[in-house]
């Protein structure tokens, strides 16, 4: 059994929370650059250029990439040979709060009805999976509200199959239009249960842009959805162009014989993801 100190986890999480807000991941930056090279419309080129300039400026100035520094979402892979010296959920939440405070990140969480701000961006959304091994991997996403609002889930019938999935996903992105800050990255969760499909869709967003699902059939489905979404012509910020989404990521799980759960989690171009392994 390997023991990990609470302070070490805390410090690592504060670090990734602060850096995720400021540094656009290299895969996203590369995808924006490739899109810029492929766009012919002036407005699309202008917007993509601004986004790259914004990423440079955030890294240099220390300002967050986007004023919406999001909900602190964490997907944790806890090795079954790891002992955490403390309560893992409390440690991560406390570190998230410290990271948002120290990093001058916006506190965006509030009571759902009174809308009173919680004041410290808590609580973090934390998913923990127990995995084999002696490592603790913590993956963090700063999830913005504008793109999250454009996400949807549904329960299709088994008869609707792939055609129904494709129709729902493409229609959703057509309806979302300029709202979620395109170019987006689209996470799709297929299968599982009513609650699991959206979790799969969010988990899918952690896979780097440009990296396909290892299952070749799912990889083909990802490409088909990406092509269909980009054929919509919505373009960067909805002003037209070839780049409506940078990528589509699918995660799939078996489901009940009666069901076909489906979820679309929309991510904006400012896909702020960072991980640490202890």
């Amino acid at each position: 059994m390997k023991s990990i100190k609470a302070q070490d986890i805390h410090d690592a999480v504060v670090g990734i929370v602060m850096s995720a807000a400021r540094y656009l991941p290299e895969d996203v930056r590369k995808a924006l650059k490739t899109s810029l090279d492929g766009e012919t419309s002036d407005s699309a080129r202008e917007i993509l250029g601004q986004l790259l300039e914004n990423a440079d400026l955030a890294a240099e100035s220390g300002l967050p990439l986007c004023q919406d520094t999001g909900v602190g979402v964490f997907f944790v892979e806890l090795g079954d040979e790891v002992h955490v010296e403390g309560n893992l959920v409390e440690i991560i939440n406390g570190a998230m709060v410290e990271g948002y405070q120290k990093g001058l990140l916006r506190k965006s969480l509030c009571h759902p009805l009174t809308r009173k701000n919680t004041g410290d961006n808590s609580p973090a959304v934390i998913h923990v999976d127990i995995v084999p091994g002696d490592k603790l991997k913590i993956k963090h996403m700063a999830k913005g509200g504008g793109s999250e609002n454009m996400s949807r889930c549904t329960m299709l019938t088994p008869a609707q199959g792939w055609a129904g999935i494709k129709e729902f996903v493409v229609r959703r992105m057509a309806e979302a239009g300029p709202n979620p800050c395109p170019p987006t990255i689209v996470g799709v969760g297929i299968g599982g249960t009513f609650d699991l499909a959206p979790t799969l869709a969010k988990k899918a967003l952690f896979r780097p842009v440009g990296v396909r699902n290892p299952d070749p059939e799912i990889a083909t489905m990802e490409q088909e959805l990406l092509d269909a979404i980009n054929d919509l012509g919505i373009g960067p910020m909805g002003l037209g162009g070839k780049t409506t989404s940078l990528d589509v990521k699918i995660e799939m799980r078996p489901c009940h014989i009666a069901s076909l759960p489906l979820a679309v989690n929309v991510q904006c171009h400012s896909s702020r993801i960072k991980e640490v392994v202890l």
Partner: protein, 181 residues
């Protein structure tokens, strides 16, 4: 498509010449307000109370900035999605507001209000909060401090880059998706 340099407060003659797709560099004073602030502004109107800023000729920026670092007036400050303010926007336009700044689509009621009261909806680049903050030279909370990022701020802007998305003549700049919605 033309580029215009405009200074606040905006007047009808400024807006009537703008067409969807035009670029505007805006200078002067603008006010921030987003979800919770809009609700309070309209609650105050219901009670016939004086609002925290003059609506006539005003420009409202839908933004909740991140905290200001030392030595800067404001943190990251890009637009939030505008449709959530559609509930309130026609009423504010009827009272003299001339423009809003945000991102994403507006509903039919807002588009009609822009024509009826002569107004425009400007788009700014979503997610480019660090870049846009460079055009903000001063910021001061003037109301609803308890709302934190949603408080109403008076901003001084210089050459703030905007695109006319909906003009006062009923035109819209967004691409229509190739899909039968």
């Amino acid at each position: 498509m033309a580029t215009y340099n405009l200074t606040t407060p905006l007047r009808d003659e400024d807006l009537l010449k703008l067409k969807a797709g035009d670029v505007v560099k805006l200078s002067g004073t603008i006010y921030t307000a987003r979800d919770a602030a809009h609700k309070r502004l309209c609650d105050q109107l219901d009670k016939s109370e004086k609002l925290p800023f003059e609506l006539q000729g005003a420009v409202i920026y839908y933004v909740g900035p991140s905290p200001a670092p030392e030595g800067r007036p404001i943190g990251s400050a890009g637009p939030t999605t505008s449709y959530r303010m559609d509930t309130y926007a026609p009423r504010l336009h009827s009272l003299g507001v001339k423009a809003s700044i945000g991102k994403g689509k507006r509903n039919a009621a807002v588009r009609e209000a822009l024509q009826k009261y002569v107004g425009v909806y400007f788009g700014a680049t979503g997610g480019a909060g660090a870049l846009l903050s460079q055009c903000i030279t001063a910021a001061e909370v003037i109301a609803y401090d308890d709302l934190g990022p949603e408080a109403v701020r008076k901003l001084t802007v210089k050459d703030f880059p905007l695109l006319v998305v909906n003009d006062a003549h009923g035109n819209e700049q967004y691409a229509k998706p190739n899909y039968d919605l």
